[in-house]
Symmetry: C2
Subunit: 108 residues, 2 copies
Amino acid sequence: MAYTKKEEFTPQEIRVAQLGKALSHPARVAIIKLLLKRQECVCGAIVEELPLSQSTVSQHLKELKTVGLIKGEIDGPRVCYCIDPKVWAEARKHFGLFFENDIITKAC
Amino acid sequence: MAYTKKEEFTPQEIRVAQLGKALSHPARVAIIKLLLKRQECVCGAIVEELPLSQSTVSQHLKELKTVGLIKGEIDGPRVCYCIDPKVWAEARKHFGLFFENDIITKAC
DNA sequence: GAATCTTATCGTATATTTACGATAAAGGAT
DNA sequence: ATCCTTTATCGTAAATATACGATAAGATTC
């Protein structure tokens, strides 16, 4: 049985879904919010802010990194994370195109 | 072992994550796009547009309905789906607050 | 070099997601 | 009433996601 059919959609649909998935867990939403507020943040500081173990937070960071929303820069023994402006702009554009559609009244 | 800790975040973080999850599969993105374009759409027409079986599409519709983004109205033997304007406005507001943050340069 | 600190990765358990066919349920047509 | 159409739900299989502790890997310090 085919398990996933995600490839059979348009690149735009796939990308929006990837970005949506990145924001589909409260921990990842919280991480992005934190990075928006602080601009940059060492991994350990992120771990302190979340009710999750270090390894779990590391896993969430990896997912955000994979989708491109954040970048990590090695800073001695630490890793400093921040939002990638390019991908952020891309995400804004995608969701912007989505939500520029006004729905006034329920059609059915 | 605790499997999920999603409750331990703020209501806003949880809600954004729910809406993100709704858009985390290309099929659901495609369904929303279709409803944006056509205003309303009978279930069968949605199934025809997607490379998925009827039961799988029905499952995706249920998820979108659960999060509130769409409504289904029984129309004889058919079900007519459309976007719920209230939840749509809520989603726009949530993601708008997110993306109003400008990231100019990489902080690290 | 040894000890320490920080973060990523591995191993693992459990829950959830995705997908389909089969079937049920409900309305319309003959 | 019977058949057909349409959609939701059930059952099920396989892939992913979530979470943690343990361990590895890399840098700094002693």
